[in-house]
């Protein structure tokens, strides 16, 4: 029996592979994101088909030396988060985001915990856009693209509560004299920097996060955005 290690993992995406297997991209606490073949995960006698689902905390024991690992056994760590309705679509958006921006074998334990917390919130039926923004911010921070909300990127001075600022991706906030579209008040930036995400800050965060994610997505938009377009909510 080859040597195997057990990882705590969530499936980000899985597609059919051979007759009864799945080729899955998993996000693990220990090793970050990587690809794994889960044998017997579809049908067959293994009784594993209900297990390998999105948003379910799994214990995956993997072996193999190459880039593509094989899962010898998978177990549910505990019951999966029951995302329903709109939250399900949001969960799929988050998965696509992680799938697109995470590099392979990049250890991100903090982000893993944040992901778990987000799923828990979504699973309980709560939803506030601000939670998604918070997750996106910690994703950016984990990847080394953290955003500083309390310092003017141009002058290095602290943000002035009465000033107006605009945002430049990969640089930060710069003071503007107004007249520019999409400028934000210093007061909001300061409240975000101190960890207070009021409802009023949401449009600001959305703008900032989208602008920062764009270069990471390589110019190709996220497909899940189509799920939210063209209808209310």
């Amino acid at each position: 029996m080859p040597e195997s290690v057990t990882h705590r993992a969530y499936i980000l995406h899985a597609r059919r592979y051979r007759d009864t297997s799945l080729l899955a991209d998993i996000f693990t606490l220990e090793e970050g994101r990587y690809s794994v073949v889960i044998r017997g995960a579809r049908g067959g006698k293994s009784g594993r088909q209900g297990l390998a689902q999105l948003f379910s905390p799994l214990l995956v024991s993997v072996f193999g030396r190459g880039e593509l690992k094989t899962a010898g056994a998978i177990e549910a760590a505990r019951a999966g988060y029951r995302l329903a309705g709109e939250n399900l679509l949001i969960g799929m958006y988050v998965n696509e985001l992680l799938y697109r921006v995470l590099g392979k074998y990049e250890k991100l334990p903090h982000l893993y915990t944040q992901y778990e917390l987000l799923l828990e919130e979504l699973g309980q039926g709560h939803f506030a856009p601000i939670q998604i923004r918070r997750f996106e911010l910690s994703l950016l921070a984990s990847l080394g693209y953290g955003i500083t909300f309390d310092v003017d990127a141009e002058s290095g001075e602290p943000i002035d509560a009465n000033g107006q600022y605009h945002f430049i991706a990969e640089q930060g906030f710069q003071r503007t004299e107004g007249g520019i579209n999409e400028s934000f008040s210093g007061r909001h930036l300061i409240s975000i920097a101190s960890g207070e995400y009021g409802v009023a800050c949401e449009p600001l965060l959305k703008h900032v996060v989208r602008k920062s994610l764009r270069p990471l997505l390589g110019g190709k938009p996220l497909n899940s955005r189509a799920l939210f377009e063209g209808r209310a909510g």
Partner: protein, 197 residues
């Protein structure tokens, strides 16, 4: 046998079938060449014909060589219900059960943003158009996977504003199933979806 010989090429071609590896493909090729040349010719001609002629039904998107498939053309069917399924195989499965007499709509997959399957790919526009023709109830018969759930939710959100009733097939304990062998997820679904007697 050289790599470019017809026999090798044919063996490779057979491997595009699901569940067919190199050994099985070789056995199929040798069988046709040694014992069943007629069968081989018939297979080749039908395959060529079907690959060219079969397309999607204009009304339900199921596979057919006609513009509108047989089921959609059948006037004896119940015109008020539309059953939404993921694949043509699902249509066959429901037809075999003999318990449904309405029309179908085949999504040809389910929502999966990472694979690039969005609302446009599963034919939401065609579905909405179909719903405007005398349909009173849309029955969602999609798989009990996360992607299936998401697809069901999305469709119900876009179809309901048309004033069409949307229902989802039940899921839970299989017929003849014993509780102790049913996995926890299925069991909790079954409990949630219980019926008052």
């Amino acid at each position: 046998m050289s790599d470019s010989s017809l026999i090798t090429q044919l063996t490779d071609a057979f491997r595009c079938l699901p569940g067919v590896g190199p050994k099985t493909a070789q056995r199929m090729v040798l069988h046709l060449l040694e014992r069943d040349r007629d069968g081989g010719r018939r297979l080749a001609s039908k395959l060529a014909l079907a690959m060219e002629a079969v397309g999607n039904c204009e009304s339900c998107r199921n596979l057919t060589e006609a513009t509108v498939c047989e089921i959609c053309c059948d006037p004896r069917r119940e015109a008020r219900t539309l059953c939404v399924v993921e694949t043509p195989a699902d249509v066959l499965a429901i037809e075999h059960s003999g318990s449904y007499r309405g029309y179908y709509f085949v999504l040809m997959g389910c929502l999966s943003p990472i694979d690039g399957i969005g609302p446009a790919e599963i034919g939401i526009d065609a579905l909405l158009k179909r719903c405007q023709k005398s349909i009173e109830e849309v029955i969602l018969a999609v798989g009990s996977t996360i992607e299936g759930e998401a697809t069901a939710h999305y469709i119900s959100e876009v179809v309901k504003p048309l004033g069409v009733q949307v229902s989802r097939i039940a899921h839970g304990i299989p017929l003849g199933g014993e509780l102790e062998f049913v996995d926890g997820g299925t069991l909790s679904h079954a409990l949630q979806g219980r019926k008052i007697l």
